[in-house]
């Protein structure tokens, strides 16, 4: 019997399956829930630039083919940057996993229904843009199975996870430069400006 889980439960499920992989989180509730589930240096929390989480993840995946890059997007955010699916589709970054938390509403802004509430199908959109590995997860078991599948194969992959909205219980650090430097340090790209120079 399928049960739609909350975004926080889904985030916990995903984080439990990770092993040091970088995660890029879309602003607002996806980022808040990632922090609540597990704050780790490999989390890149965005505080703005709605729509661009999948693009940031793509750039990171291209620059670091040795890492499997996870993106936690919202369906409202992805709908703002659907062209990103086309770019991911043709660049075929094998190490990119785009997870879309689809609660069918703009949860961060008061629960206005999104296009997916009216039938828009983001997994079908991803397939039509050339992303072959797509799935829709409607409960925790399906989400875990989808994550296991993408781990065992080459991407790019898109997992649309149907979730229920839940009130966030925490917020990530507000200092954007701190988030960036901690993240870059954790994945082995320490910014030169943080090193100092010995003459």
């Amino acid at each position: 019997m399928s049960r739609i889980i909350t975004r926080l439960e889904a985030t916990r499920s995903l984080i439990a399956s990770l092993n040091g992989e970088p995660v890029v989180a879309s602003l607002g509730h996806p980022a808040y829930d990632l922090f609540a589930a597990l704050d780790r240096p490999e989390n890149f929390y965005t505080w703005g630039s709605m729509g661009l989480a999948s693009s940031i993840g793509l750039g990171l995946a291209v620059a670091r083919p040795d890492l499997r890059v996870f993106v936690l997007d919202g369906e409202g955010s992805l709908l703002m940057n659907l062209g990103s699916l086309a770019t991911i589709g043709w660049t075929k970054a094998q190490n990119l996993v785009l997870v879309v938390w689809d609660n069918e509403e703009y949860g961060t802004t008061g629960g206005q229904p999104s296009a997916t509430a009216h039938g828009a199908d983001l997994a079908a959109a991803a397939r039509s843009m050339g992303i072959e590995m797509t799935s829709i997860a409607r409960d925790d078991l399906e989400l875990k199975a989808a994550i296991a599948r993408v781990r065992a194969a080459h991407g790019p992959a898109v997992i649309v996870a149907k979730v229920r909205e839940s009130a966030p219980t925490a917020k990530p650090p507000l200092d954007c430069v701190f988030i960036k430097q901690r993240f870059m340090d954790a994945i082995g790209n320490r910014e030169a400006s943080t090193r100092g120079v010995v003459k």
């Binding site: 630039s49 709605m50 999948s54 693009s55 940031i56 750039g59 990103s84 960036k180």
Partner: protein
């Protein structure tokens, strides 16, 4: 160095831009196409095979990809037409600037001197004002494009900020036909 397989001559300004990008250590250019920039893209493809070009669907998306490339340890540039700056403001203001993510911007101008399309003029006129308002350093490069790109690259990656090289139409559209027909 290889010789371009096409018969199209690369203008000096475009060769200078490419040489500047290479001197800065740019590894990826993310772009939305533009007629003058096609010279840069062709020259990169022919002579700078260590610089990878990534096509984006929209300029805002290009800045997102560039930000990710930087997080991954690369030095990115974004190539765009000035009209695309209007599509990019929120990416610049709420991602690149607050996170101090450096990206070298090469902006092919519309709406400046020799413009024939009235629809291009308001955004083109706004470009320097918007960059000033955001506190983004820029140079209008009217001749020495290699030096301009190099100095802006030093600013961008040395001080961790976006910086923009503006290429005016007087530089990039040299023939009467090009100056009066769709660029």
């Amino acid at each position: 160095m290889t010789t371009s397989s096409t018969s199209v001559h690369t203008p000096a300004w475009a060769a200078g831009v490419c040489a500047g990008l290479s001197a800065v250590g740019i590894q990826h250019v993310v772009y939305v196409p533009d007629n003058p920039l096609s010279h840069v893209l062709r020259e990169l493809d022919a002579r700078y095979t260590d610089i990878k070009a990534i096509l984006a669907t929209r300029e805002e998306e290009a800045f997102g990809i560039a930000a990710g490339l930087y997080l991954g340890g690369a030095r990115p540039a974004v190539l765009l037409q000035s009209s695309g700056l209007g599509n990019s403001l929120n990416a610049l203001a709420s991602l690149l600037l607050p996170y101090q993510i450096p990206v070298l911007m090469i902006i092919s101008m519309r709406g400046d001197a020799t413009e024939w399309n009235a629809a291009q003029v308001p955004m083109g006129r706004t470009v320097p004002i918007v960059l000033d308002a955001l506190g983004i350093r820029y140079l209008v490069s009217s001749s020495e494009t290699k030096a301009s790109v190099e100095s802006l690259g030093a600013t961008a990656f040395g001080t961790r900020t976006p910086a923009a090289c503006l290429l005016p139409r007087m530089l990039t559209t040299t023939t009467p036909a090009a100056a009066t027909e769709g660029s």
